[in-house]
Symmetry: C2
Amino acid sequence: MTDYVSMINDTLGKYIVKAYPEIIYEAMEYSLKAGGKRMRPRLMLHTAEGFGGSAQSVMPFACALEFIHTYSLIHDDLPCMDDDDLRRGVPTNHKVYGEAMALLAGDALLNSAYEIMAGECLGNCSQQTVSAMYEIAFSAGTGGMIGGQVVDIISEDKKIDESTLLYIHKNKTAAIITAAFAAGAILSGADSISVKRLKEAAGYFGTAFQIKDDILDVKSTTEILGKPVGSDAKNAKTTYVSMYGLEKAEKDFIELSEKSLAIIRHLALKTDSLENYMAELMKRIF
Amino acid sequence: MTDYVSMINDTLGKYIVKAYPEIIYEAMEYSLKAGGKRMRPRLMLHTAEGFGGSAQSVMPFACALEFIHTYSLIHDDLPCMDDDDLRRGVPTNHKVYGEAMALLAGDALLNSAYEIMAGECLGNCSQQTVSAMYEIAFSAGTGGMIGGQVVDIISEDKKIDESTLLYIHKNKTAAIITAAFAAGAILSGADSISVKRLKEAAGYFGTAFQIKDDILDVKSTTEILGKPVGSDAKNAKTTYVSMYGLEKAEKDFIELSEKSLAIIRHLALKTDSLENYMAELMKRIF
């Protein structure tokens, strides 16, 4: 399986071309470089590989998705949101650059994602490039990630029901993962039925991934996670674990993981790198 | 001259399709509807008219630009930025919806602008639509509006030099106005030389417009402006007036206005609605 991490990191770096005023590029770069598994771009690249696409043509969209993911983390960490001091083991953006610059660095990363994608569409104006951009824009918006963040915020300090928790997981986490699968496939010429099946797999996978996060917050350590554990309980936050208990959370995690992998296997992709990477991400630590 | 304001307002409303979670759509709509002259979309529509384009095909991009302008106002008003309580005579977004929701409403408006434009590019995949989107994305980014906001923020409580002040004016205000002209022309099939000349005119016009704003902050009243006057002096902010004095500010405003109008006249557009609208916007109140 090609290890795309260093390719992604190199390309992310190239998209930050420092100019006046340098401080904004530094703030953007700080959070882009602060660790991260590059899960979303890697999922997109492995999906593209599975449909015979080239990493070259997908990379700009993969980087744009990482820009969007990073902006969402910076804004999520702000004092008016989750008010977090640490992210991936290092101080959050506003702790280093101040709130105003962190706000603008988030805005800039979001906008830059579209500058990158629009630039790609300009160089290669096709239904595929435009469609990939549209999938990403939709998933990042109020019908996807932002919708999930909104419900997360308005649910704070409240007892929420199952459908609300599922909405948050599906939108705050799974939406961008869905875009990674869909864009990678579309850019590689996948037919619409395959894209539809992939989105279904991404929905299961994204939810499983969020459940794993909830489980780790109970069972892991700050050293392993690079962020404080037990923060959900401290913030009286409803999680999959607090709603269903650890046992059912672990059971559902396995079930959803296997459902998503079954769909991927059924698509009989050209390589098994996507399946392998998904399996690696869902490796159980319990 | 066709009055595009009600067309723009109707279309802006149609792009806010309320769904769960309703609060985010309400917060977006609140700031979109809170007055505003719709200057940027109107400039785009009049430019399109001048090149024989239809309002129909330009309207989605004109609305997207207004979404971007509105997001920038919401984020600018936040406590960590300018900390303003009033905008266009009504409470600012965070005063009504709280800081977290205002932050997300801004993010959502920015992202929705790209959802609208990507959707248009999908329905009509052409070099023109994609190029218009690219112009807007570039102008809204770190090489345009965000760059201007950054320098504005880091210049607070500091004595700044002429080139810094010009950078702020050119980027914070003129960049989005430039995108309005450029996108309107590109979508209507203008040749690249005309687009280049238009951008030059937009640069003069945008700077003149900002100088007028600085003049009004000294000479107007809160009732007329719908926002507190004298706020620049109160915040010890360097403006065109504080740097050059009122007399030179007024002289330069007239000179830049006339330079921009001269370029527009020289382009010999199909209608004079753009020229008339620009003249109306630059009507002197002194």
